[in-house]
């Protein structure tokens, strides 16, 4: 490497994609963060839908299990959860594999990250979606029931779209949380944006270049999300009158 000492490189070059820049590493980290956030959020959404319906309509055992899950996950700091789940998840999986006579495997950190953050997201989304379902006017469901709509069709065609309008602000918050929670994965050595930033600044001592750059990238994610969420919310609230008028 023919790079001069970092103190002699311009900030732009440090952030650039050239031989002496850290651009590729940062963008890679950003990509990882986004992939994990998307994956975790989607997994959380599936858990949330199932969890909400389970909590509302499930049997007593399912309800208790779900209550334990949401209570525990929401009570424990996410960082602690990530550490526990990371070691527990990989550990338990390998235990199972070994006991079935397979070799232990290395699980890709991306998958681990998605599963761990997805479980956290699932607990919060369960509650937000449950609230959204509870806020659906009972008459909307009675009309469907009275017309002989089977319950699965009703959940899909009536309950979920109605829930969406109610739950969207809460779900949007959780999406922003998901993007930021990816940073917590730095503690398990996963090279998402925060970890990439920290490595770059540690090597170059150019903290005041890389951290503001990371901040800007997080801000871009957030602003883009807000823009998109606004559109989705408008669509989900179609048919509703604006409360502000």
């Amino acid at each position: 490497m023919a790079c001069p000492p970092p103190s002699q490189i311009s900030a732009l070059e440090l952030l650039g994609f050239g031989e002496c820049g850290w651009g590729i590493s940062l963008v890679w980290g950003l990509g990882n963060s986004i992939v994990i956030a998307l994956g975790a959020y989607s997994l959380g959404f599936l858990i949330g839908i199932g969890g909400a319906f389970g909590k509302l309509y499930g049997g007593p055992i399912l309800k208790d299990l779900l209550a334990a899950y949401t209570t525990l996950v929401r009570a424990v700091p996410e960082l602690v959860l990530i550490l526990i789940l990371f070691y527990a998840f990989t550990g338990a999986l390998n235990e199972i594999l070994l006991s079935w006579g397979y070799d232990r495997i290395e699980i890709s950190p991306i998958v681990t990250g998605i599963v761990v953050l997805g479980l956290v997201q699932g607990a919060y989304q369960t509650e937000v979606i449950r609230g959204g379902i509870l806020a659906v006017p009972v008459g909307q469901l009675e009309a469907a029931r009275a017309m002989g709509m089977p319950s699965l069709t009703m959940a899909r065609r009536i309950t979920l779209p109605q829930m969406a309008a109610n739950a969207l602000p809460g779900l949007a918050n959780l999406w922003l949380n998901a993007t930021k929670d990816t940073a917590l994965l730095a503690v398990i050595g996963f090279s998402e944006l925060t970890r990439a930033t920290s490595s770059a600044s540690a090597s170059t001592k150019a903290f005041f270049v890389f951290y503001p750059a990371a901040m800007a990238l997080y801000l871009i994610i957030s602003l883009t999300s807000t823009l998109l969420i606004g559109r989705i919310e408008k669509w989900a609230r179609r048919g509703q009158r604006d409360v502000r008028t």
């Binding site: 008459g139 017309m147 002989g148 709509m149 109605q162 048919g239 509703q240």
Partner: protein, 322 residues
């Protein structure tokens, strides 16, 4: 005076001297979409709803001694010894009702007397605590404690009953047309184009042809209720259940909805109608049930029930509701 009193019942109350056509009386001036041609009230449209029972129109001009269509018609809905409790509160204490095809059974009674509960037990929106429900000659399978035991049967029977609620309950995330085709397309699996064509016919019939793309929240109560009636009709039901269809409406919007219901009655539709509109009940019903505290205090043909009530409670009730 919101609706036309038919000549055979007009003797009871003198009509105000009016030579206006009934449709003009019913017409809400702000609402262009309901305006029927002056000579052609909605309820006498030349073309009947497809699938509507084709009963002789005279059956509504009931014989004085015979409240309903007569024993010749098959039974559409039968409720036998129906009981219903909410916790320890017994709301229905063994009520029965028979609606033959073409009958219009009106249920009247004070607030809290159990009218809605009785109607909602017919399609099991409320689970009866005892008794039997029979729809189209088919007994609804029930467990001992009253819960329906055959989900598929219940869904099928519900599809043959069109329910109209006090608060319309149109699906707010769907346009009017989407509301009408929802169950036909996604439950009854009718091809979308066919369902839409039929839905448009129904919307035209209730005077909402221009509103098919509107969302319910942006329509008047009367328009929403007419759309809700069209939605129920879109399933081509064998009978209609109305739970106080005009009670949530501003007074000036009541007429347009009653007119649509009247049209259905004239067409020979079977229906059970819970209502506070006594004049209307008298006009359209073939049989009237007066419910008080969860029992049927008195029942009979409308002229008898309204003209010569026997029980003191009913007399009192009729006095208070005017």
């Amino acid at each position: 005076m919101r609706f036309l009193i038919r000549p055979n019942t007009a003797a009871i109350k003198p009509q105000p001297p009016s030579n206006q056509a009934p449709s003009t009386l019913l017409h809400n001036p702000d609402d262009k979409s309901v305006t029927p041609p002056a000579s052609l009230p909605i309820y006498s449209l030349a073309k009947p709803i497809p699938g509507a029972p084709n009963l002789p129109k005279q059956r509504r001009d009931h014989m004085p001694d015979q409240g309903s269509t007569g024993a010749s018609q098959p039974i559409a809905i039968r409720v036998s010894a129906l009981r219903k409790s909410f916790g320890t509160h017994e709301v229905l204490k063994g009520v029965s009702l028979t609606a033959r095809e073409g009958d219009v059974v009106a249920i009247i009674g004070g607030s809290g007397s159990g009218k809605s509960t009785m109607l909602r037990c017919v399609n099991f929106l409320e689970t009866p605590s005892g008794g039997e429900i029979e729809i189209g000659g088919e007994k609804v399978a029930m467990r001992a404690e009253g819960t329906p035991s055959d989900r598929r049967q219940l869904e099928r029977l519900r599809q043959s009953l069109g329910m109209v609620f006090q608060n319309f309950n149109l699906w707010t995330h769907k346009t009017v047309l989407e509301n009408l085709i929802e169950v036909p397309v996604h439950v009854l699996k009718i091809p979308k184009a066919e369902a839409e064509a039929r839905a448009r016919q129904l919307l035209a019939r209730v005077g909402l042809a221009e509103k098919e793309g509107a969302y319910p929240a942006f329509m008047s109560g009367g328009q929403q209720q007419r759309a809700a009636i069209a939605r129920a009709l879109a399933m081509n039901p064998k009978a209609m259940l109305f739970d106080e269809p005009t009670s949530a409406l501003d007074p000036e919007l009541v007429g347009e909805v009653l007119q649509v219901i009247k049209g259905l009655a004239d067409e020979g539709r079977t229906m059970i109608l819970v209502t506070h509109e006594m004049k209307f009940a008298r006009e359209v019903a073939s049989h009237v049930i007066y419910l008080h505290n969860g029992i049927i205090e008195e029942e009979g043909p409308p002229d008898q029930l309204f003209g010569a009530p026997k029980s003191d409670r009913l007399k009192q009730f009729l006095k208070t509701v005017g």
